[in-house]
Symmetry: D2
Subunit: 356 residues, 4 copies
């Protein structure tokens, strides 16, 4: 690791996650430097003054920000609807890009972004599937690569979000693409990472099936969404993913993954404990849980940007490409379609879901 040169970042979008990314870049990344943040909101300047190094420039216009010569790379953490445009603007401005998932909730838009990035092969464009950078999932990947699981053949994974009685989540849901696209995409990406060979065939998926119901948020139905969704993905190599997404947990954020191999089974996050404290009182023997995905994956976000920095500075292959994101999006979209039509969705030989 050389510390001679640092990668200079701008963060586009300083919302909840963007502000965390900016602080990671300012204080947790040996080879990266935060040089700018950009957000149209007027509060950004004040926040940045309080929370970021004084050397950080603050922009309200992304074009202006992308025009800066001292910006080598951008981290896009804007609202989802702007991801695709900002990726394209950034590569046109010759910046490397780390964009939060998803590229888009719309498959065609994602596809166009992938095609556009392929025109800039000298630029690195990575989609932030944060779980790939979590130490526990990485340990599973290592165990698989070492053969400790035998042949991994089945993944059962659940992304259980804590119930949000404030209603914020529901208002946000309409723009999220629905539960399989917003929430299941992480489990889908894990399944592709763990179950498929590193050079998978064009047709990766045989078929998917999904169903679901609303138990806390009946108002989601008007957007054809649910607060509990179950999806099954049968891959072409005869491996299977069963994914459960929900928004209705009372104890916290609880994402739980079982990977079944012929020699062993591993579980990630069997108990979503917040820390190493156990309490024994009138409620029994108990642990507190991580309230949100952020407490669960805080370090993964740091690893993610550090690893992307290495990829750019050392010209290494991307750990997760836009093509990976597109494949995951196809599956999530197919699950959404299956849920809405009550039918299995098959994939054709070109690897495209038949959304009939």
């Amino acid at each position: 690791m050389s510390l001679q040169r640092k990668l200079r970042y701008a963060v586009l979008g300083i919302g909840r996650m963007g502000s965390r990314h900016a602080q990671n870049l300012a204080f947790r990344t040996p080879r990266a430097e935060l040089v700018a943040v950009c957000d149209p909101r007027s509060t950004t300047l004040e926040w940045a003054k309080q929370s970021l190094p004084s050397s950080t420039r603050v922009f309200t216009d992304s074009a202006e920000c992308l025009g800066q010569d001292n910006v080598d790379a951008v981290l896009i953490a804007s609202e989802t609807g702007l991801h695709a445009k900002l990726v394209i603007d950034s590569i046109k401005a010759e910046k490397h890009v780390l964009v939060e998932k998803p590229i888009s909730i719309d498959l065609e838009t994602s596809r166009k972004v992938v095609e556009e990035t392929e025109k800039y092969p000298h630029l690195k464009v990575m989609v932030g599937f944060s779980r790939r950078f979590d130490e526990s999932y990485r340990e599973v990947k290592k165990l698989i690569d070492q053969g400790k699981l035998g042949k991994p053949h089945l993944i059962k994974s659940a992304t259980n979000d804590q119930h949000d009685p404030s209603g914020f989540f529901v208002s946000y849901a309409a723009a999220s693409g629905g539960i399989f696209i917003d929430c299941g995409i992480h489990d889908i990406d894990l399944a592709r990472w763990f179950l498929l060979p590193s050079n998978p065939s064009i047709k990766q998926v045989r078929r998917v099936f999904a169903l679901g119901h609303n138990v806390q948020h009946p108002e989601l139905s008007k957007d054809n969404d649910v607060d509990n969704g179950i999806g099954i993905v049968e891959f072409e190599n005869d491996t299977i993913l069963v994914v459960h997404c929900n928004r209705t947990m009372k104890h916290g954020h609880d994402c739980f993954t079982e990977v079944f191999g012929t020699e062993s089974k591993v579980i990630v996050n069997g108990n979503p404990q917040l820390n190493r404290v156990e309490i024994r009182d009138i409620h029994g023997v108990r642990t507190e849980s991580t309230p949100t995905y952020y407490e669960r994956f805080r370090e993964a976000f740091v690893n993610e940007v550090n690893e992307f920095t290495d990829v750019v500075l050392d010209d290494k292959p991307l750990p997760v490409s836009c093509a990976d994101a597109l494949e995951a999006a196809k599956i999530a979209t197919a699950l959404s379609h299956s849920f809405k039509t009550s039918q299995p969705v098959y994939f054709d030989d070109a690897g495209e879901p038949l959304l009939v």
Copy 2:
């Protein structure tokens, strides 16, 4: 509880489970008495002499055994193919019946048995769904009835059997009806118990979907069976069961059930530990697992026969009826059909699966 009168049992079939049932009846049932065992095998007499009270009579012919006046009830633990015939013979002989699940691997045969038993309303006929008598599943039922879960809406359940390298299991599989009928029936029964009202409507199920693959036992394919099967059951009351059956675990028998309610979620058997010992050595921090279902459910089998005895002696309602067994069998059969046809199977308004 009156101890004045004891229910006098004959056990039909002294194989692996039958011999355990006979010993339970001999030594673990305050209100029941073992008076006879029956098995055509010549080794039975010798085993009984070693293992049972000397007062126990041994028969090789079931008709002769059923003809005994001092037999009030029979426990049928023969091979599955004989269950239906022995139930009918027993009720015709005016005996109460506790029969191991399933009544039959064939839906029509089960249906005929149910119809026959309805002609003998004064006799109690119970199918031994042992998990209903396990203290942990009963605790869950109690929590549900107390409202502690809010509305239970989703069950994810897995029956994971330890891999049997001897091949015994495969030879047995052909007569078992396949993984959903042999192994999934317990999870299906639990789901009906936990998710449906006590007086469910005629049409209980909306549709099912199943898939699976063979990872250790490719020879199962010739019987159209798998060693890992996944099934989804969407009930008419909008609750869902996701069931996973497998025969490929290395650590032991591990049946794991999650029950999701709107107020809390409960897990049964998160760690299938054999006892209360934890070992910390070069393999890490670890526990041993129950090798088979028997170590897991040993006490449930005792509870089962004690509770059935109470039902008969005190003329109480059956905790699980032949009609319950038939409904579970319909669902298991539909899952098998879905697996074989790769299509969802729908149920009609009469509650029958459309096995097209």
Copy 3:
């Protein structure tokens, strides 16, 4: 195992534990038979009529009960103060004896009982250290005997009782001999079982040290007792026991034992879970705990009486002798003395504590 002959028991003392023992003997012991119970209380007859086989005779006078020819063995579960007398009466009546621990809270009385039993070598006299019959502690003993722990050198053990706000416990404490004798005796017996060779030298202990305090029950101080006591026992073979006894837990009865060996460490009952149910709700991820020692050791009491029955019927060596009980009592008494005098207590070459 021969079932030809059954050992015929009388249970002396039908209090809380005596009634459970009587039911175990009536319904859970293939080779034992309950023929009589004896208790001076007038309620006994009624209880026995409801709860025991009609063949069980009920006595109010122990001498009359011990005079019965059809009684082969007695199980003594009276109040502690009567244990010694009843043991001696029973062996004089030529009965085998299984007596609840302790023989006496007074060391000299225990010693006299041991001396008396030695005059009847044809009779089996066992003290009911129930943990020796618990499947988890037995598994630890097996692991030790197999060498899996290397050399076991240190035990840290805690007997944590649930806090009893009713005050019953305090009223009982005065007659119990204090926390080390009443409660620590089990941990001491385990330590001797796990740490000492099967034929230990006469001088087994080098010294002990104890201290304690009252945090919930200041009224215990008037009897020179505490609700939290810590004891250390240094054995002559250079192994160590650290024992903690308390009466102040809020979650349940929690007895927790760590056995440190040179190759591995084992823990018994790391989580005192009541059953296999885990709840995830607003209180976190949690399990319920066994409320009392009885839920924890229910099966151990059954094993205990079954094993004692085998010992008598098959003339096998006692798994735990009166001499073992006496040695444990010496240690407990020395701990009590150390607590009261604030000084270490040393043992002399004859294996006696120097209670100066």
Copy 4:
């Protein structure tokens, strides 16, 4: 938090922990800046060039390093024998000091350092008891302060180190002061933090008692040290610490703390798991353990230096003072003395151990 001014650090001693501290200061501390490192070893320069920002100056002479005007604070991570001298040199050079524990293995030397620091009240001098900065122990402190434990009255704590077959540890032991001073000091500090009031009386401890044995490292005996030590500390406010230190674990570094309160008990690090992965294979259900204290406390070291930085920049009170370190050292020294003399050690009214 103002980011306008950064605290400029030199790290003295770039060994195993010093190099980690230097990297934390370089990359993980928003308000701190690493300006220099100092180590007499010739390899330091090369390592610093590879691992630290190019702006970091490298010294081999501590006097020269301490003479730099742009150094505001030092972090002392040298070998223990140099701690005291470097602390005094540093405060004389008007630098704030964060020194790794212990100040010295010799009580009188520690006392002199404390006295010296009192002459420089404008300088902050903190001893790095890293557990105080661990999120789990902090959670316990918060629960105590919130009254969730009722009155905390007893701590049972163990620092279990992984067995080191290389013999490195033994060679290091002679200079470490023995197991109670080297290893137990952390548990002692925790006990003082959790059990004593924030302004404890002069006499904090009533008496201590210790014992121990060697099971893997008999060669330690020549230095009067052991690989397993047990200590008991009875505080003047009638609370108790039981501490177990050992060097003989096979599964990893396992430091385990139980805090008993009148309303609840909490456990820290019941399972010393390395990550959130659980493996189920032929060895059972298992987790991997943290191999050393560093994997366990990595983030605590970052918190520690960030918090010390805040203390200096915002002139806040020290979370753990030199006086705290001295009190812990008195207790550890008393335990060592008790072990060597086989006698309890009492403290006098001035709070000094009577090392007779």
